[in-house]
């Protein structure tokens, strides 16, 4: 901690205690929020109209079998005790078995998650590399035609149904122009060619240097990733613009200009440097939103990720899978939220 290395007099212990307190408080917040998430999914699992016992034993089971499973599932216990069991299981990574294929839900999620991760990561990268410069330029040239275009781009992004834009993209770039690969992660011809290491096909194929697979995977991922990228671009560029506007109207910028620094130095070395922390928190948030926003995109592109998994499970009333998926997405979402909050708190000297 660079800041702690510069003690100001003999009062070093006070900031330390403050720091520890703040960490404990954050940990408490994380724990309570996650407990809340698990409680909500638990309640959802209990109020649903599907009888979990019937789903296991079938409709023609005898009353004694039914009662046995009823007790085995702990349904005869008080609600709070049941919640405790549920908590215990989830903390051990056990979301129960899928009602469809009888496999543990956690294994299924571990299998589909890399696909979502790959898609969302590429999406957010596109969003950063286009959105940040766009936001900076829009702020610097406030009111110019570039600013207007940036505004329209963001506004359209906020207003567009993502699944529809995906369909249109498929129609134009796959159906009519044939520039990109169709739905799915790979053409059937290339499937299972590359051994699975990370589950991220782009990375796996690059490791074994199978560039044919890499190229094929790229043609498949580029359209859905560009779509998600557009969404994070809309958000990131707007936030970048408003952060930059705030900095550019500050007095130190005037000082820098009066000093005779070039405009480029003023913008990138001074103003932009000051918005980096804010920007990272925005990017973390938009990453979290993409993990979630990929649900509909995955459906459109038949992308075998966690969004497809949850939706398929939902339509076949496989509640263990739905709740398991919800918990995983929720936990990641909360972690990224808190990560961005922490980052802000520790690196922005004003919040100390």
């Amino acid at each position: 901690m660079a800041l702690a290395e510069r003690p100001t007099g003999g009062r070093r212990s006070a900031p330390l205690i403050h720091w520890i307190k703040s960490i404990l408080k954050t940990l408490g917040t994380i724990a309570i929020t996650m407990l809340g998430l698990l409680f909500v999914t638990f309640i959802i699992g209990r109020v649903m109209p599907i009888d979990p016992v019937l789903a296991i034993v079938g409709e023609r089971a005898s009353q004694s079998t039914y009662d046995a499973v009823y007790q085995q599932l702990g349904l005869d216990k008080p609600l709070l005790v049941q919640f405790w069991y549920y908590l215990w299981d989830v903390l051990h990574g056990d979301f129960g078995n899928s009602l469809l294929n009888a496999r543990p839900v956690s294994e299924d999620i571990a299998r589909v998650f890399p696909a979502t991760l790959e898609l969302a990561t590429l999406g957010v990268l596109i969003g950063i590399f286009l959105g940040v410069p766009l936001g900076v330029i829009a702020a610097v040239k406030r009111g110019s035609w570039i600013d207007q275009i940036a505004r329209v781009v963001a506004l359209v992004g906020y207003s567009m149904p993502i699944f529809w834009l995906g369909l249109m993209g498929l129609l134009v770039f796959y159906g009519v122009l044939g520039w990109v690969g169709g739905p799915g992660r790979l053409d059937i011809f290339y499937e299972d060619v590359v051994p699975t290491r990370t589950g991220l096909i782009l990375l796996d194929s690059a490791i074994v240097q199978d560039w044919d697979v890499f190229r094929n995977a790229l043609t498949h991922i580029i359209l859905p990733a560009a779509l998600l990228g557009y969404y994070s671009l809309a958000y990131i560029s707007r936030m970048t613009r408003s952060f930059m506007l705030e900095q550019l109207s500050a007095e130190y910028v005037i000082t820098a200009r009066v000093k005779g620094l070039s405009e480029r130095q003023v913008i990138w070395r001074h103003a932009f440097k000051n918005i980096r922390v804010q920007l990272i928190t925005v990017i973390a948030l938009s990453y979290a939103n993409l993990l979630e926003g990929s649900v509909l995109t995955e459906i459109i592109f038949s992308w075998p990720g966690i969004g497809s998994y949850i939706t398929t499970a939902l339509l076949s009333a496989d509640m263990n899978a739905v709740l398991g998926g919800t918990v995983v997405v929720g936990l990641i979402f909360i972690c990224l939220n808190i990560f961005s909050d922490l980052l802000y708190r520790f690196f922005d000297p004003r919040s100390k």
Partner: protein
Amino acid sequence: MNDLTLRQWLLADAPTSRRHARLSSLYKGWLTLRTNSMAMVGLTILVLLVFTAVFAPVLAPHDPFSQDLASRLQPIGTGGHLLGTDSLGRDILSRLIYGARITLYIVALVALIAPVAGLLVGTVAGYAGGWTDVVLMRITDIFLAFPRLVLALAFVAALGAGIENAVLAISLTAWPPYARMSRAETLTIRSTDYINAIRLQGAGPLRIITRHIWPLCISSLIVRVTLDMAGIILAAAGLGFLGLGAQPPSPEWGAMISEGRRFILDHWWVATVPGLAIFTVSLAFNLLGDGLRDALDPKDDGQ
């Protein structure tokens, strides 16, 4: 002549009654809003949407539910079908027109439930303070930290598919920002002199909250609701698209896209047209919301 005097009356510097002051401030807000052409475009689209929904039976050229398998998947502009027909030979334009009713229904319900719930939680937390505040805000934060769409999916899965359940699921995930906002406003209002004055006059907490705090929270709430409407329409359409919202044969726009998806490569218009409708309406809400924000509270710019 009469119009001119009404205008002068509305713009009077010293209002003569409470009603006069209220109307006058509304009129001034309207004048500010009117100079924002993009907001007016949004407002016009929304007025047209309401008009379409109200007069759907008159405007629709065909019955939105009547099937005609002989003329299925007709392209745009053929056989008296301006926007073509879908896979069951139903007129797409008529279905769009009736779909406006469903969209408005969803929007209106969510706009009633979520902000009111948020307002209630936020003002009570802010006014009561202490433990009530801590507990209520902790719950709000928990809901705020949830992934909204996924949670709505799980809710609908538990409650069963249908418009009302979709509305409930969206509202359940939409109220926390309103609670945060009204709490912040309540905290600033609570310690003002005029609240102390009415408290000294013997007003109870209920009266103070409902008669003196709520009215002041309304304007920022309205802005936020308008801006949120776009997201709500998109969420509802997404649920409809997944088959979890309005059920067939209801002409809900998201569900129509889902129907058209199977024919997208050969019969593009079936999925394209309802998507354009969703986009237009959600854009209109965003434009109007931006304009309202500039007109009602110019202090937060660009957030």
